[in-house]
């Protein structure tokens, strides 16, 4: 009973937020509401027994997406201008047509999904049944790095491609990303070093913990990479990491190392184990942990650089 009430309230809140994100007149309100929606999505994943997704959503929704959106909002909305200056929305009748079409889409999706019978033999049941063959105890990690490793490989390639694409169209260094820091001469808030001293070491620790725990409980390269990326965003915003126009050799290694390592081990699998992207007997856990470490960097660095709007970063502590 109370479970159902919780679910209904959560769904109501989520849909209410989504409506306001779309309908709100002030753009800043939409952005903040969208960030809040991300937090609510973490609770939704928690309710649906998907703690892995809740972890990823907490790191990405709370840290990365919000920072990206706020920086873009500031860049697209100069302070001098009043309000949005958004051109008027489509005429009312078009809006009505759009609403009807969306409604039809909703009905179609709902009808199709509710009509599906749960299949007797699903890939998920198969994955759970053969968990022992994967070398890890967490079913999600097993699917990501053993049974469907090719998806994960493609995903880091997509991330790398997004970074390359952003390099092609990026604005000049001084304007890209969050832009220049305010009051460079005026110093920074007194509490900022305290925040960094607590957040950065603990964040690195948590990322390592998530990476390690991916083998047997919720966690893994995705979540660890997202946490490190959020820390990178924090360091970039506070000027500890400065944007530079060139990618250093170490950064190049981190950007492509995960992909190269994953591909190499995958190809070696064709010779030493049964198939491409299969692991030799007894080595699965070690290799998966090795690949995950490479992946963590291959996820964290492009995301930080996408936020920073630069080709590279240099440490400039205080």
């Amino acid at each position: 009973m109370i479970d159902r009430a919780f679910d209904l309230l959560l769904i109501g809140g989520m849909l209410g937020l989504a409506v306001q994100v779309v309908a709100s007149r002030a753009l800043f309100r939409s952005v903040v509401l969208f960030i809040a929606l991300g937090l609510l999505m973490a609770v939704v994943w928690a309710r649906l027994a998907a703690p892995d997704l809740a972890l990823a959503e907490a790191a990405i929704g709370a840290g990365l997406t919000g920072a990206l959106l706020l920086a873009a909002y500031r860049a697209l909305q100069p302070a001098g201008e009043a309000g949005d200056a958004e051109p008027a929305a489509l005429p009312r009748r078009w809006a009505l047509v759009a609403a009807v079409l969306s409604g039809a889409l909703v009905a179609a999706i709902g009808w199709a999904v509710l009509g599906l019978e749960p299949p007797a033999a699903s890939a998920g049941r198969e994955a759970l049944a053969r968990l022992g063959e994967s070398g890890v105890k967490s079913p999600i990690t097993a699917v990501l790095l053993s049974f469907r490793a090719v998806d994960t490989l493609a995903e880091v390639v997509v991330l790398f491609a997004a970074f390359l694409g952003a390099r092609v169209v990026a604005e000049p260094l001084g304007r890209a990303g969050p832009g220049p820091r305010p009051d460079p001469a005026g110093g920074e808030p007194v509490l900022m070093p305290l925040l960094l001293r607590v957040t950065v070491p603990m964040g690195v620790l948590v990322a390592g913990y998530l990476l390690w725990s991916g083998g047997h409980q919720p966690g893994g390269a995705f979540q660890a990479g997202a946490v490190l990326a959020a820390l990178g965003v924090l360091l970039r915003l506070t000027g500890r990491l400065q944007p530079v126009a060139e990618t250093s050799p170490a950064e190049r290694l981190a950007l492509v190392g995960g992909i190269v390592l994953f591909s190499a081990i995958g190809l070696a699998g064709a010779g030493m184990a049964s198939a491409v992207l299969a692991y030799p007997e007894g080595w699965a856990y070690t290799l998966i942990l090795l690949i995950e470490t490479g992946l963590t960097l291959a996820i964290a660095l492009p995301l930080t650089l996408l936020f920073s709007g630069s080709a590279g970063l240099r440490w400039r502590g205080r």
Binding site: G186, P189, L191, M192, L194, L195, V198
Partner: protein, 101 residues
Amino acid sequence: MTVAEWLSVGALALGAAFFFTGTVGLLRFPGTFARLHALTKADNLGLGCVALGLALQADSAWVAAKLALVWGVALVAATVSAHLIARYTLRERGGTGRAPP
């Protein structure tokens, strides 16, 4: 129910009350600074009470330690966040010169 359970219930109820107070403050207080003051203090006390209540229900010391860690980090984050937002608001109103570091 045992004594620990009663204490836990009490702490959770107190936490919920603090959160409620924070929300009322956020909605009813005039001015950004008053709202900041209400929200930061009440919500973090509320989180502390909830964490305490849950720690009393916890089976292991590890769980209790993790709850304490969450609250500790939340206090640091909230302190700095409140400071940053107050400073930002001050600067918006009086120009850069008047914002103390």
